[in-house]
């Protein structure tokens, strides 16, 4: 058969354009197409790896596509069993387990304790933490997690998360996640954390526009095989012993004196906490103030660690106790339950032994909260 190459080329181009247009119109949830929980086991925590370690940790960050992140997680593995009391943990890198293997994170340690809820169901804990201290990000995770029918939410954060220290994460938001974020903000009348982001243009929704996301999703699927083969989902580094010296400074972010407390308090994203309780309805949300490294070295009389001056952190703790009680929100303050030697590279990152200690400290409280 004689073939005219020009016609072939034109037809191919037309097909390509049509495919792109259809892709943009129907916006297929490609993130949900996953090898996880089917060909390979689901991950025990969300996919995440620093860009420079992607090849070593066999993992890639896909937070911008929460569909893909959830589809790769073990929580998406079938229906919730009838005898399971489901607890999801949300929070920052401390909860994700930056200094731990996936089987040594806080949620894994809680699972190891084999707790039984008040109603006799076995408690199973799911790690839905994700590095970055920004509780609005946690709210988006919670919104997606609702379909997995959690019975309880353990929400661990620290003052950094509450003041949105890592709110730059929104710069990494793309596509659907921007739309989700804006929708959640509007629904719960929240401050606009995504004001500088615009929803996708039509072109950005085409195959060409989404090529980076598609590549990331494919990479995540391929790494699923290495996850199954090795059990490795993170390149663990070794850190030098902690240098217990602090600057003689009482600054917290851009606040320089205790007199600025009212302005600092205004930064607290309390509307996000309210929204979470509204969003989750009957599901109990237990907020936990994360343990921090408490220094005993030079200048420790003015600072707890490199993150927090004492004045700001003390006021924060006092305020949160009051605000949570006032709103009748369950709240646990675990700020000082972990000894210095169990912190790794950052004042909220724990070694596995620290995760174990925290799990043991949390367990009795969690059991109590599991009762009506």
């Amino acid at each position: 058969m004689k073939v005219n190459p020009l016609r072939v080329l034109v037809k191919a181009l037309i097909l390509y354009v049509v495919a792109n247009i259809l892709f943009a119109i129907y916006n297929p949830p490609i993130g949900r197409i996953s090898v996880y929980n089917w060909l390979v086991p689901g991950r025990l925590r969300f996919p995440y790896e620093r860009a420079e370690n992607v090849n070593l940790g066999y993992n890639i960050s896909v937070f911008q596509d929460l569909d893909a992140a959830f589809a790769s997680h073990v929580i998406a593995d079938g229906e919730k069993p009838a005898d399971e009391y489901r607890v999801i943990l949300v929070g920052d890198s401390s909860i994700w387990g930056f200094a731990s293997n996936s089987t040594e994170t806080l949620s894994a340690k809680l699972n190891d304790l084999e707790l039984t809820a008040c109603d006799g169901r076995r408690m199973r804990f799911y790690n839905l933490g994700y590095p970055w201290s920004f509780i609005f990000k946690d709210l988006l995770v919670l919104e997606h997690a609702r379909v997995y029918e959690p019975d309880m939410v353990l929400w661990l954060f620290t003052m950094r998360g509450l003041t949105g220290s890592d709110k730059d994460i929104v710069d990494f938001f793309e596509g659907e996640l921007i739309a989700d974020a804006k929708r959640v903000q509007t629904a719960h009348d929240l401050e606009d954390y995504t004001s500088e982001l615009t929803t996708q243009t039509f072109f950005e929704q085409t195959i060409i526009g989404e090529r980076k996301k598609i590549k990331t999703d494919i990479t995540l699927q391929m790494y699923g095989f290495l996850w199954a083969a090795t059990g490795i989902d993170h390149h663990l580094q070794t850190w030098l012993p902690w240098k217990d010296t602090l600057e003689n400074s009482i600054e917290y972010r851009h606040y320089r004196t205790p007199e600025e407390w009212p302005q600092l308090q205004d930064d607290f994203m309390l509307d996000v906490l309210d929204a979470a309780h509204t969003m989750m309805g009957d599901t109990k949300i237990v907020a936990v103030n994360e343990p921090i490294y408490i220094s005993s070295g030079s200048n420790s009389e003015v600072r707890y660690n490199k993150l927090y001056p004492r004045w700001a952190y003390d006021r924060y703790r006092e305020f949160m106790q009051g605000w949570m009680a006032e709103n009748q929100y369950p709240y646990l303050d675990m700020w000082n339950v972990i000894p210095q030697e169990e912190f790794s590279d950052f004042p909220v990152h724990l070694y596995p032994a620290g995760e174990q200690l925290l799990a043991e400290s949390l367990a009795p409280e969690v059991l109590k909260f599991s009762c009506p």
Partner: protein
């Protein structure tokens, strides 16, 4: 090479392919330009310029040796020299445009001086009478250079002696040299045996540095290539479709399948980390498929681009993983390389051994083993590649003896359905044998490869 680079090459092929008069010289200019453009950046940055220049210098020097006087006449040569010098100077002058098209562009006077010295030397050499010793010296010179570059100990010692390495080490990559060396050796040897046709400088260089096949083959033969070059086939509509199809299939194989499989291909780290033999098998198969799709993808791209230029390059792969035995596998895997070795190593060795009245099995054993070891060492002179060669040499010998034995006992060929079953079993065994061989190829030490080999069969190491 990135998709972008391949796209640029395709565009260039399209343009150059449309040139009528002066096509040879236009192709030469494009090839010279691309060997500079494709050369990766080096730790010693100026090498990005000098390595392609040395490639050209070596090629011109070999041409001076192999070309008969009638084609060396200045009247026939000057246009090619002008194109080469002009393109090199244009590459170097790009520094004044403030562009970063090329990784390195030395000072102009240095380049002019280097070119002047080189052409003076070439002119002097051209005047010398052709003695057989020159050909042998050139052959061995290229072989020694090849050995030096492919031996990590020699190369690293040399680089470390002239450069203080950073923690990333000294990056040294001479793009296309492995293939250029084979083409040069082929022409030198064929000139010795007087089988090489007379090639003008433009024809010779177009053969050696032909840009579609410069980086990853196939390794064509000069006499075949030059026929196509001299008589370019006008592309019919059907040819365009075939060239385009081949090109796009190559792109898909390389940049979609191979690059995705690369993420899960077996390596040193995984050899330690993988928890079960089943997964090691899986990752090893992924490596096998990746290396096939990567290499055959590049070949498809090269063949497609060359076709657009009106030149038919030889095939390099013919469904090797569907072959029922190892001999057939090697007849369909990197075929142009195996043809080269058959012509210039296996056949001469076999002929030489036959004169010594040795038993046939011993001749086969020696010839196959040594050929495969040399093919292994072509990838790099390390123990790993040595043992990879041994693995395949032994495999070929055992398969050869087995076939001989089984055929001597079969009175009639098996019925078709039985032959089909035998072929499928053969395919399975061949694929697994080849895949296991990759352990020596990909892992950094033969000992580690051996450990993994034992793990694959359930041994606790």
């Amino acid at each position: 090479m990135s998709v972008f680079s391949v796209g640029v090459l395709a565009f260039a092929a399209f343009i150059v392919g449309r040139v009528g008069r002066g096509r040879e010289l236009t192709l030469l200019a494009a090839s010279v330009f691309f060997i500079y453009w494709l050369q990766p950046a080096q730790t010693i940055s100026s090498l990005s310029f000098w390595l392609p220049t040395i490639t050209l210098a070596l090629s011109i020097f070999c041409w001076v040796l192999v070309a008969p006087p009638e084609v060396r006449a200045w009247g026939k040569t000057w246009p090619a020299v002008l194109v080469i010098v002009g393109t090199i100077l244009l590459v170097d002058l790009s520094q004044f445009l403030g562009s970063k098209i090329f990784s390195a562009t030395p000072r102009l006077w240095i380049v002019v001086l280097a070119l002047a010295v080189f052409f003076a030397l070439t002119f002097f050499t051209e005047k010398l009478p052709r003695r057989p010793i020159f050909f042998s010296a050139a052959l061995w010179g290229i072989v020694l250079l090849f050995v030096f570059l492919k031996t990590p100990y020699f190369l690293n010692s040399f680089l470390n002696s002239i450069f203080t390495p950073s923690k990333e080490g000294v990056l040294f990559s001479w793009l296309g040299f492995s293939y250029v060396a084979f083409r040069l050796l082929h022409t030198l040897r064929d000139r010795q045996t007087e089988r090489l046709p007379a090639l003008t400088l433009a024809e010779y260089l177009n053969y050696v540095i032909f840009f579609p096949s410069f980086a990853a083959g196939p390794i064509d033969r000069a006499e075949r290539f030059v026929l196509e070059l001299r008589n370019p086939v006008a592309l019919a509509e059907q040819d365009w479709v075939q060239a385009g199809t081949r090109f796009f299939i190559g792109l898909f194989k390389k940049f979609v399948i191979a690059d995705a499989l690369a993420l899960v291909s077996f390596n040193d780290a995984l050899a330690e980390q993988v928890r079960s033999p089943v997964w090691i098998w899986f990752l090893l198969y992924a490596y096998s498929l990746r290396i096939y799709f990567d290499f055959s993808g590049y070949t498809d791209i090269a063949i497609g681009l060359a076709r657009i230029l009106g030149i038919r390059l030889p095939e390099n792969f013919a469904a090797p993983f569907l072959k029922p035995n190892l001999t057939q596998f090697w007849n369909s895997w990197h075929m142009t390389l195996t043809h080269w070795f058959r012509a210039y190593f296996f056949n001469p060795i076999t002929r030489s051994l036959r004169t010594k009245q040795l038993p046939v099995p011993l001749i086969i054993f020696t010839a196959q083993l040594s050929t495969m070891v040399v093919i292994g060492l072509w990838h790099g002179i390390t123990w790993s590649f040595f043992f990879w060669g041994i693995w395949h040499g032994l495999g070929l010998f055992i398969q050869n003896r087995w076939s001989e034995w089984i055929q001597s006992r079969m009175e009639t060929p098996p019925p078709p359905h039985r032959q089909l079953v035998l072929n499928v079993i053969g395919m399975f065994l061949t694929f697994n044998f080849v895949s296991l061989g990759w352990l020596f190829f990909t892992l950094s030490s033969p000992l580690l490869a051996l450990q993994v080999l034992m793990k694959l069969f359930g041994a606790i190491v």
